[in-house]
Structure formats: C-alpha cells, structure tokens
C-alpha cells in the first residue's frame, strides 16, 4: 500500500511539474507576476 501511495505522489509531482511549465509560459506571455 505504501508503495502505491508513493507512486501516486511521484506521478502527481511529475504531472504538476510539467503542467507548471505550460502555466509558466502563459504567465510570462501575459506578463503576470510569477516571482514577487
């Protein structure tokens, strides 16, 4: 069970990180603040 839970968390983090690349590009193009 712990292995599945770990795999679930890793999959979530991987997808979230890749999703962040798309959001980051959109934010940059729209000039949104992503730092301060």
């Amino acid at each position: 069970m712990e292995a599945v839970r770990k795999l679930t968390r890793i999959a979530f983090t991987f997808v979230m990180m890749n999703y962040a690349a798309v959001v980051g590009l959109v934010a940059l193009r729209k000039g949104r603040e992503v730092w301060k």
Binding site: T8, R9, T13, M17, N18, Y19, L28, V34, W35
Partner: protein, 371 residues
Amino acid sequence: MESVFWWSIVVIVYVYAGYPLLLAAWARLTARTVPKADIGTARDWPALSILVAARNEAARLPARIANLLDLTYPGRREIIVISDGSTDDTVAAVSSFLSTTRASSRVRVIEIPAGGKPLALNAGAAAADGEILVFADARQQFAPDALVQLIANFDDPRVGGVTGELLLDCESAPSGNESSVADGVGVYWRYEKWLRRQESAVWSTLGATGAIYALRRSLWKPLPPDTLLDDVLAPMRAVLAGYRIVFEERALAFDRVSPNGAAESRRKTRTLAGNYQILAQEPRLLVPVLNPVWLQYVSHKFGRLLVPWALVGLFISTVVLAETSWVFASALAAQLGFYGLALAGAVMDARERHHSSGRAELPVALGKGMS
C-alpha cells in the same frame, strides 16, 4: 499523426534517459577535476561578501546571521543583508541581534524600496568589496564548513562560480514527511543533483542553487529587474565568458520541501517561466559556437521545456491512433493509468491540505537552483 507519436517518445525518452546516459558516459571519459585548495593548510583565503536578500524576514534573520557568522572560514568575510522593501521589523530585528554580538562590524544592512530580488542583489553586489560573492537566502542554514568547501574551488582560475548542495528534509526520510510532494520532489531533486554532478565533471553546471552558491565578483553583472532566475542567469553569464561553474557536494545547505502541491506548483511555475525568460535574456545559450555547454543546455534545460508539449502530443496521438494498432492502444492505456495515479495524488494532496494542521507555507526559494 504517427510521427507526432514517435517524436514525442523520442523527446521524452532522450530528456529523461538518453541524455543522462550520454552524460554519465561523457563524465566517465572526460571528467575534469578541480585542483582545490587544501583546506587544512594555512594560506590567504579570499575575502567574501555574503549577500542575503530579504523581504519581511524579521523572524528568521537573527538565526540566519548567527549561522553565517559561526561558519568556519579563515579569511575575511562581510555579511550584507538587503532589505527589499520590508514592511515588518526586518531591519530592527537585525539591528537588535547585532547589538548582542561582537561581530556586528562584519554585518551591514542596506534598505531599498521594494523592487524584487534581482534589484536587491544588484544593490548588495554594488556595496560588496569581497573578491567572492556568496549568495544565501534567509531561510536555509549552512553546514559549519560550507564556506571553506565552496571557496577552496576558486584556487582553479577557470572556476568562475561554485554551487553547493541543498539537502531537503524529504531526501533523508520521505516517508515520514507530511508534505504530499515529498516523495516526488525527493526523487526529482536527487536525480537533478546527479545530473549537475555529471555536468560539473564534464565542464560546468547550467546554473546554481540559489540557496548556496558563490561567484567571482569580477564576473557579476547587474541583473535585469524582472529576472526570475538570478541563480541561473548570473552563473550562465560566467559560463558564456569561458568559466566553469562547479558543483561542490561537500558544501551543504539545509531546507524543507514545499508543504504541499500548490506551493510546489507555484515554485515550479516560476522556475520554468524563468527558463523561458532566460532564453530571451541570453539568446547566446542556444548558439552552439557561443555556448560552451550548448549540448547540455539544450538537452537538460531546453528539453524540460519541450517535455510537457511532448506529453500532450503523445496523449493526443495515442487517442487518435489507439484503434489502429495494439502499440498505440497500449501506450494510451499506460498513460491513462499514469494520469489516473497522478489524479489520485492530486486528490490526496487536496485532502491533506484541507486537513492540514496549519503548517506554514514556505516562500519560494530553493527552486531558484532547482530549475
């Protein structure tokens, strides 16, 4: 559509497996060691200026300055705290702490209007008189020998900068960590540091860890005010000038992982937006004859920007092609399984955040080097 499928596979597999294998072989064949100074021998150590950009860090700064003052370093050091438009008692807290220590002459505080970290670092670097600039954040702590381990590498004149190793709490005990991203970030960060170690051995890393790195002051150029990744832009400028940035795994800083997926997502969004931004700030990075680490840069940093689009291309192409062959149908099933797991992870994250006992969210910081 089949070409979209296969190109997507090529990009994903190359970025996450092909490049690391290539790099491992490259590092094994051509590793360039750094002739470091012997730490135990009496010698002239270069003067350091340690820059800590901070906004509203009254609670953390006294302990942080104490940590920086306590570090073993035989040479001269000054600590410059740049308060970037703080509206809390940051300056008063530092002043109060300094009144209790005999080392107060080694610490300076500069106040500037709120303008962001790049302007704060510009102000700090302009005020610095050390030969080497050391960059630190308010939150992390350094190991006692972190400075000597970092600075010993500057004995090699080809070394323009040195990045230390940031150890996250989730790396040592991920299963006991309450953050829902501890497992994923722990795996990612160990993988990322392994890549940096190999890149450093080949010639240079592709940036630094914002929480702990050092740069020759002569290589510092003021950062554009809107810079998102100061810890990539400043080191990469040194690399473009012909210097190495090396990874020193014995120079340790310690930090905690983001408390949940939302905080990690914000941090990562900023980092990846910064990776896009830096291509506009330094287009030379994409020109092979101008960038000594072009292949590494394109494979590692640029590749990470391509992978999300390859994942989208892979998914769409397998949906369209699934009925034509068992290969595409299997690929679609594998992706649905993986995204199902990720969705379950997102639900767990949301639940844990909801039931969180109120662990304070950490501000964005460590990822400045995890880009």
